[in-house]
């Protein structure tokens, strides 16, 4: 199917997924992901040209609730789960001006 996934690919994917890996972890994950993807290469044997993809097992579409006012969620209760809150808002460290 493709070339075996490289250490650099895994490092890139970890960055995309907001995970930081040690060198030892990077080696281990690279081997494991390569094995798993190699197993998935058995799909190459199939002719899928004319097959439609399935994203979901149910034919349900456009499910709407009744347009009736219901109970609103309790803001206090949801904010209570957050690590840091100020003025009814989730608070985070500086986000602007940082270098990515």
């Amino acid at each position: 199917m493709n070339e075996r996934i490289s250490r650099e690919d895994v490092a890139h994917v970890a960055r995309l997924a907001c995970l930081s890996l040690t060198d030892v972890e990077l080696d281990a994950f690279t081997n494991q992901l390569a094995d798993i993807l190699e197993h998935a290469a058995d799909l190459d044997a199939l002719d899928l040209e004319t097959v439609e993809p399935t994203a979901h097992p149910l034919p349900l579409i456009n499910v709407f609730r009744d347009d009736k006012p219901g109970e609103a969620v309790d803001r206090e209760k949801f904010l209570a789960s957050a690590p840091e809150v100020e003025n009814n808002q989730f608070k985070v460290p500086p986000a602007l001006g940082e270098h990515s």
């Binding site: 493709n2 994917v13 995970l19 992901l33 097959v51 993809p53 690590p83 460290p93």
Partner: protein, 478 residues
């Protein structure tokens, strides 16, 4: 005593819910340290619930079809104000602001929730070893795993901690641990049971279902938790199931296909003793009047590969929400993005990281068509093959798991070997179909084997007819 007998005894005032609870709490006290089925035993809450049930009965009221029955709930299902951890450090200390729909339905039915059960972190695993709370052990042999990911729920029922338990099944996470622990486990049709309040792993595959000691008890629990829920847009708009008539109907004239690929055919690694039990199950169903033949569902061979692209892809998206902003613990850092990386890196275990990265890779530019797109097409093939098989057969049959319970640590170093535990169960999730595991016979090691009954979408009723016959035949032999 069956669950139904206990319910009647409590309703008639012959027993008290508090006594039933006490005897189960005693069993938990005796063996929980060794088994580790629970992340949390809710002793105080359960005692209060049982007292409430007893006073309702004393007032002449009927608390419901599960009056006073202790139930264990997998710890990826939200319980308001009670820790719900998914066995992950990233949810340490989090208290859900609401109850899952099934938790409300259990309480409305008079059940007493006794605790939250251990699982592989975020339901990713087949052994309940990937847990921030340590592994659960198989009550039948504590050197072995209980299976997973709902290993805590399966072990709770097998150890007699609770007669009923709730699990979730994304690729086999109810059926495989049921098989390894010698109990009944059911994955209903996708959409049959509300997922509202189930912490999402792979949303197009996840489904909640029951564990029980007997087929009848599993049917009763499924009746209680099934039925339409407006809070879950993927919920099937039908009333709760009524399975009572299925239990006595028998299988006379039913056409049952044994999936060739999973019974010594194309897929290797299914052990001989498991296949021998399958043969005996075929004999049992045949002598009960079913017409049983081998049949091919060719694309099941590709189910595992498709699943281990689709499920991680959905997981990588679902688990993006754990970023240290809105809930759960935070690892402080100078900037928001550093905080997110530090929080996720500290909070997730290795298997969860592996799947997030696998899914992120499968969805990334340049690889999407090769992996995710292809897997979605294979999903169509599997659904087509099942549809063709169900033109000729009412039900399908296979082993539930390729082996009996394996030793702790046996597969933790090799993720692919662990994934192969799901080889028989995965296709039902990809198709959205119901399937159940019923204990049937033993392996050469004396540990239980599970036989899987598969049915087309929404036909749980016919599935339970075969399940009841397998159970009766198995009990007749032992």
């Amino acid at each position: 005593m069956t669950v139904q007998e206990t319910v009647l005894a409590i309703q008639k005032g012959e027993m008290k819910a508090q006594e039933v609870l006490e005897s189960h709490l005693k069993t938990i006290q005796d063996r929980e340290e060794e088994i580790n089925a629970f992340n949390l035993v809710m002793t105080e809450e359960a005692i209060k619930e049982a007292e409430k049930i007893d006073s309702l009965v004393a007032e002449g009221k009927n608390p419901g079809p599960l009056t006073g029955i202790p139930v264990a709930v997998k710890d990826n299902i939200c319980t308001q104000g009670i820790p719900t951890t998914c066995s992950s450090n990233i949810l340490a200390g989090w208290l859900p602001p609401y109850d899952a729909t099934i938790v409300e339905r259990l309480r409305d039915a008079g059940a007493v929730i006794v605790g939250k059960t251990n699982l592989d972190e975020f339901a990713m695993g087949a052994s309940t070893e990937n847990s921030a709370f340590g592994p659960t052990r198989n009550p039948l042999d504590t050197t072995r795993v209980p299976g997973g990911s709902s290993g805590g729920s399966a072990a709770a029922v097998a150890a007699g901690f609770t007669p009923l338990a709730i699990g979730s099944d994304t690729g086999g996470s109810i059926r495989q641990p049921a098989a390894l622990c010698g109990v009944v486990g059911v994955k209903p049709t996708y959409g049959r049971v509300s997922r509202y309040g189930l912490v999402a792993f792979a949303s197009s595959l996840d489904q909640i279902g029951p564990f029980a000691e007997t087929v009848a008890d599993a049917a009763l629990l499924l009746e209680v938790i099934s039925g339409h829920d407006p809070l879950d847009t993927t919920s099937i708009p039908e009333p709760p199931l009524d399975l009572s008539s299925a239990l006595t109907q028998g299988v006379e004239g039913l056409r049952i296909g044994v999936i060739d690929e999973l019974s010594g055919g194309a897929i290797e690694g299914i052990s001989d003793d498991v296949l021998a039990c399958l043969e005996k199950a075929v004999e049992a169903l045949t002598s009960a009047g079913a017409i049983v033949e081998r049949t091919s569902v060719p694309s099941t061979v590709y189910g595992l590969s498709a699943y281990y692209v689709i499920a991680p892809a959905e997981a990588s998206s679902n688990l993006a929400r754990y970023d240290g902003v809105r809930f759960g613990p935070r690892v402080d850092a100078k900037t928001t993005s550093e905080m997110m990386v530090a929080t996720r890196t500290a909070g997730f275990g290795d298997e969860v990281k592996r799947r997030i990265m696998l899914g992120t890779y499968a969805l990334s530019a340049g690889y999407y068509d090769a992996y995710y797109g292809k897997s979605q097409k294979v999903r169509t093939l599997i659904m087509n093959d099942f549809a063709a098989a169900y033109e000729k057969f009412d039900l399908l049959l296979s082993p539930t798991a390729p082996t009996t319970a394996f030793p702790l640590g046996d597969k933790t170093e090799d993720p692919l070997q662990m994934y192969l535990q799901d080889i028989c169960t995965i296709s039902s999730n990809l198709a959205g179909h119901p399937a159940m595991s019923v204990p049937f016979g033993q392996g050469t090691d004396g540990l239980p084997v599970g036989i899987q009954v598969l049915a087309p979408a929404t036909d749980e009723h016919t599935m339970f007819r075969a399940g009841a016959i397998l159970e009766a035949s198995n009990q007749g032999q032992s």
